[in-house]
Amino acid sequence: MISIGKISIKSESSIVEARNKIYVLAQDLKFDIISTTRLATITSQLVRGMVKKGKEFTLKVWLDQREGGFGLVLEFPLKKIKDAVSIEMLNAVFDSVEISQGEDRFEYIETFKYLPDSDFKPTKEFIAKIKKQIERLPIEELCNKLQEAYTKLKRAEEKQREYSQNLEDMVEERTKRTKELQDAQDELVRKGKLAILGQLAGGVGHELQNPLGVISNAVYYLKTILSDADETTREYLDLIASEVHDSEKIILGLLDLSRTNPAIREEVAISELIELALDKQPPSENVKIDTKIPKDIPLVYIDPQQIGQVMFNLIVNAYQAMPEGGILNIKANSDKEKVYISIADTGCGISDENMKKIFDPLFTTRAWGIGLGLSVSKNLVEVNGGNIEVESQEGKGSTFTVILPIKEI
């Protein structure tokens, strides 16, 4: 038996496919028109029977040499032959019909029809040709299959692109959120530290006032009763009094840090606050002050005590950045909603790595002082609806810009 091929039967379209293929095969095998049609029709009927039942199967095709010559062999696996076609009909078309029972409970019909040409000799080329025809997918199905495959591919590509984009978006979002969370956490930690430090400073400050009060009284008393003592004694008493006074100032500084009063806002001229701060802490001889605050600068809507303190802190910082002298530049300008005050020094500047830390509580590059000034100032400004920004160049100087709100109408 020479295997010609298999026709896979899957769906309704297979019926037509099978019929067409058998038709063409029969033509090539030189059957006459009637036989060709009969063969095709029978095939169609048998296949239809199975397809209607939803069965998938394979129709096998051979060429076989028997007594009278070569013949076409078709094998159909069927469930119920009777439903598909009558045996009489089969016997009328085929030269022999054999029905066997398969293990899979299919009935196998093997049909044999002698080729019309008894001298037929199957050449290699011929066999190859008819094989090809059997195996070839019908053009439409091929096209459909191609189309389907193409569509699937395109859809898959699209989906992949979507997922890819989605993933990217998600990663971006996640990164942003993580950063936001991190920033919020940092801010919370900073504020938490500040609050604790404020409490500590307040507690310590207040506690110190008691013994300081007694010392202050004691010195006052001694000075009074020893008003005619020798010069050294009087000098020593003055010394103690002066140190007590200095201690008092330090404590007041500490207490400033602990103040958690809410901002009591009013409209204030920023020039006044700056003047007050400059008066409170006049510059040393080698520092030149240059203020450029326009007369028509709008009033800011803030708590004057708190923002006054901020100005004082920034100005003192500026002085301390210029121990060898320099220029303190104070400027102000405004837009519709805010006033921008910049306090610039020509001092040592802030390094890049320190820039991130300068507003942290307890951070200081000096050998003295606690390092709460800037973090407290930042807090006070924010509580008043404003902001502090800083620009600096190491070795050249720093500029702190305080942004404050104008009263909304």
Partner: protein, 255 residues
């Protein structure tokens, strides 16, 4: 006339009490002391003090509780609070309840001494009213309460003759048909710190003038016939304010 002041100092910190006592003693103003609210309350009840200075933060009975207790038995007694804890809630409470002032430790001794000297001075009142009998009778009433009183029956040379240490002026709004507004203005100009209490019998007639007077910071207006209790209350208020001003407390109040 300088009378000897009786001052009571209260603080659980013995060293604070000791140093204050020695300072005031050496400055010529001996003081009594107490180390707790209870002890102080007992002393204030049994003796007559001109002023009490007390710490706020004390165990068992704090300074404000003590003040409230003393206020109920000696309402006229000026009490000054002191503290190291400027942000304590009690500071606000103490002021609200009528303490003269809350002072921050360490104390400014000189300010307190000045405060004492003001306390020592007798309270003086100037009465300006054309009704001589009114002046005389009011003078007698006030003198009985320890005030030093001078009176004037017209606006003539009032400003020139007014004693500079006068603490309060009672001013009739209309003398001999002349309005007191001008006088008020002149007084305000020369003695801006001097509180002026207006008096008048003519409520409706003078109402607009009174309004103007109050706007240029006359303290208040009392109507004849004078309710003496009300007058004493007003004088007491004014005195309280004057004492507070001297101490210009640096603790608790926002600028």
């Amino acid at each position: 006339m300088v009378k000897r002041l009786r001052i009571l100092i209260v603080d659980d910190d013995c060293n604070m009490v000791r140093t204050l006592k020695d300072i005031f003693m050496v400055k010529g103003c001996p003081v009594e002391t107490a180390y707790s609210g209870f002890e102080a309350l007992k002393k204030a009840r049994d003796e007559n003090f001109d002023c009490v200075i007390t710490d706020i933060k004390m165990p068992k009975m704090n300074g404000v509780e003590f003040y409230l207790a003393v206020k109920s038995i000696k309402p006229e007694l000026p009490v000054v609070l002191m503290t190291a804890y400027s942000t304590d809630k009690l500071v606000k409470k103490g002021l609200e309840e009528g303490a003269i002032s809350v002072l921050a430790k360490p104390l400014d001794i000189n300010t307190i001494l000045f405060f004492f000297s003001t306390l020592q001075k007798e309270r003086s009142v100037a009465i300006v009213d054309d009704n001589l009998n009114f002046c005389k009778t009011l003078r007698d009433i006030l003198q009985k309460q320890g005030f030093v009183v001078s009176y004037f029956t017209n606006y003539h040379n009032l400003i020139e003759n007014l004693k500079p240490d006068c603490q309060v002026m009672l001013l009739d709004m209309k003398i001999n048909k002349i309005s007191g507004l001008d006088v008020l203005r002149k007084v305000r100009k020369k003695y801006p710190q001097l509180p002026v209490v207006l008096i008048t019998a003519h409520r409706e007639e003078m109402s607009s003038k009174i309004k103007t007077a109050l706007e240029i910071s006359a303290y208040t207006c009392l109507y004849k016939p004078l309710q003496i209790e009300r007058l004493f209350k007003v004088l007491s208020e004014i005195h309280h304010k004057q004492l507070s001003m001297i101490l210009k407390q640096s603790v608790g109040k926002k600028k």
